[in-house]
Symmetry: D2
Subunit: 274 residues, 4 copies
């Protein structure tokens, strides 16, 4: 069982929380706590042994500051919808994990602005919606995407190499619930064609960044990042290919962290109890 | 201020501890907790804001199981003695950090079974004791080393590429207080000449391991390990040279972890709140 | 176009080879050369621009020492057969790459000693042969496997978490053509249950090793290895899960290296021009 | 013996070069070659067994395109001058390697715009020049630095955390001979206070970049980069401290590469035969 709490900091919080858990006879297996002194914020994640959590949230509320965010999840189990364009690597990885039930979440459907990846979805009996960005206004397209998403009511929307920029209006409907994989180690190479820019700059590392989507392009809170070494022998195409491996790994890792309730968001940052 | 506690696990420990801290008006900045379910052991490390810790240990004792190990360190400050043979890389790194006061500990003296590194010690005004293993029994040599150590009463003895095997009798005098850097990623390549063995096996990684010394050769609890890639172009000598970089880094990291009270030892393992 | 040559070393080899390539108007894009001085062996891999390679092998032979191994591959294109047991991660990764034609090789069929992975193969229209090890002698089982393999005449046989030990007789039929993924950084934790052993030893790294299969268990020439950090919070099950990620990545990398003619084998080692 | 050649590409270069080496009875131990197709440039680095290199450069010239850069170094041996401000970590690492003769180069002197590091230099009998930036124009200060440098005629000038920006006029005197360590993975966080910016952006990686200095701030050709993971628990000060470890390692690696004649510069990029 996972308990996560985010609230204003004050002396005695851990004691109050732990005392209530003890009263519920819930043994703490693992605990991660962090205080952001500058922001005066308190974050805690507790894994407790299975037990009776009836009334736990209500019991916690009075000992926490007003406005505390409390989440008690008997089983970390999330639902996700995936948006794609043409590249397969992130999607296929997610579909395989979903099929073998090791994702820790259920993929409900896939939406593509191209139909390139329809066949792989069908092979996994995964509903695929082709909503083209052509011959349609951006607003109309986003409305259609939004309609499909709301039909499924997912916890998270995963942009698995979805190559269209979403409007602030769309993003506002799903605050801190859209996860994107960007193909560079942000804040280097914001925007389009990061591998081309990396090639031209002659960097010796390329990377990928999984982040929540905010209104600023590639500026949302970062969940996970990783890099791989490259050298002069890498063409742009070779960088793209190598980058796809790291994109897949970083997005898989970020999803695992989010799905297991290990990620807190505040301001433009995350606390990640990895 | 750092508080570390290790004891038998039971429901309510975190609550009891945190309640006492709150009563002392000590605000918890960061907290790491771990329970080893199989061994039924509880480990916690707390960083609290500076405040009044008078009587804290006594206040904690009654709420903890019998036999609890409690340590309250207002300033994490340790004393160490370093043993060396001929290789300079780990020693020089430690001397430099000590000189610039970034080690988090004080190096009290260096003992070498060769005098190769006497000059570098003198350049840093560091006492150096040359205790040769030649023309002396192992017991006599260890007695001399032990005498020097006990004169300084260090918290830890660091084997910074000390190439003699210490007897069980010697090790028993300083239980879990001797830290060794072994030049392989244990348990691969136990014993002598690990780089030669690595070369012959044709591995694609070499590594280093910092561990506490127990009576079994290279079998003590591991504190930190790291690796670097190698390939067919590496001779044994090139592996040794590359390995020295990683040995230096791993030992520096392990010392930091130990010095900051981040390492708990039990059975033949460590809990490391890195 | 890829040209690889392995032979006894002597002065002038590169000049002789390059002169012949120049005569064929083949421009060298990239060249990697290595000499093992102790063994007096010469290895070279050349990527040349497309051109006329008719008669190239015959032209090279006279300028090379007797017994030289020469391979000129206009397109690096290999055929592989995959052997599995129950774990899906390596197989699924290979099937996905094969389906999207990014493997650089064709998977011809999959053979499983359990039928657990039959369904995923069928979803990719991949022939699956269930050859159980039960109610059959090892020799009989291996004969059946060998029969299927020989029907397809693959370049390589990939053990993608195939959990049966193959007999020397079987291995001898496919010398240096069987690639295994072992779930530890060899030579640590040879044999069964490496993660359990890693847990008990309290290591801070776990890893995976892709190697050619020889007659000695887990002793064949190593192609690629990689590690990931672990800590005290990892149960054996968590290590297995984390390890599967690295096993998948290491096997994918090793296959890429072998498929692109970047791996030379001699004695019990490899030269890898990565 | 190291031979490096950079020139326009054309068919037959490797053959011509290798044939001449064979005529000189120079056996090639290791060879790295790269062609930048877009720029039509050829780069080669050869390690040959010791032998007679008299007249080799003259023999090579006629078979290479006009303007070829040829370097034949019987012993890779360079001289360097180090510029510092207040931070010790990179300088101390260089001084230690220099003292133990493992740098592969000779440090001739150290110039500091503060005198903070004078004492450590003196402990290693290293000449230290204190040239303050205070009460002096930038031009005057750079003239003094330049005077000291020219007295020693070093191959390379190493900015080991030298925190003043050098003028284009100064840089132009030592084209592609000034090596800087920048405390971020470029091109992220160009300019001042990269760790502060990294903290504010909430990145999960920090890094360091060693590069040649050109006229654009932090825009010169990159030699080496590396990163380390960070998380929410890192204050700016903790990032600085962790970053210093990676700065030291990256600069040491870049110096090794440059000193061993493994780095070619063209346009704003490097070819590194690592």
């Amino acid at each position: 069982m996972i308990i996560v709490i985010q609230c204003k900091d004050r002396v005695g919080l851990v004691g109050s929380i732990a005392t209530i858990l003890a009263r519920h006879q819930l043994n703490i297996i693992s605990m991660r706590e962090h205080v952001d002194k500058a922001e005066d914020l308190f974050f805690v994640r507790l894994e407790v042994e299975d037990g009776n959590i009836g009334g736990l949230e209500e019991a916690l509320k009075p000992v926490l500051p007003v406005g505390a965010i409390i989440s008690v999840n008997p089983i970390p189990y999330k639902k996700i919808v995936v948006l794609v364009t043409k590249e397969y690597h992130c999607l296929a990885d997610i579909l395989v994990r979903n099929y073998f039930k090791t994702l820790g979440a259920t993929v409900q459907c896939v939406i593509g602005n191209h139909n390139t990846l329809q066949n792989i979805c069908e092979r996994f009996d995964m509903p695929f919606y082709h909503i083209s960005h052509e011959q349609m206004s951006k607003a109309a397209m986003e409305q259609q995407i939004s309609d499909v998403i709301q039909r499924y009511a997912p916890d998270y929307i995963v942009l698995a190499k979805f190559m269209r920029i979403l409007s602030p209006a769309f993003v506002a409907r799903f605050p801190m619930r859209i996860i994107n994989i960007h193909h560079s180690f942000l804040p280097a190479f914001v925007g389009a064609n990061p591998y081309k820019k990396a090639f031209e700059r002659g960097v010796k590392l390329i990377g990928a960044t999984a982040h929540f989507v905010s209104n600023e392009l590639d500026e949302g809170p970062i969940i996970a990042q990783q890099i791989i070494p490259v050298n002069h022998s890498f063409t742009v195409a070779a960088m793209v290919k190598a980058g796809q491996e790291i994109e897949t790994a970083v997005l898989a890792n970020a999803l695992k962290l989010v799905i297991e309730d290990r990620v807190f968001v505040y301001k433009n940052k995350t606390v990640v109890f990895g």
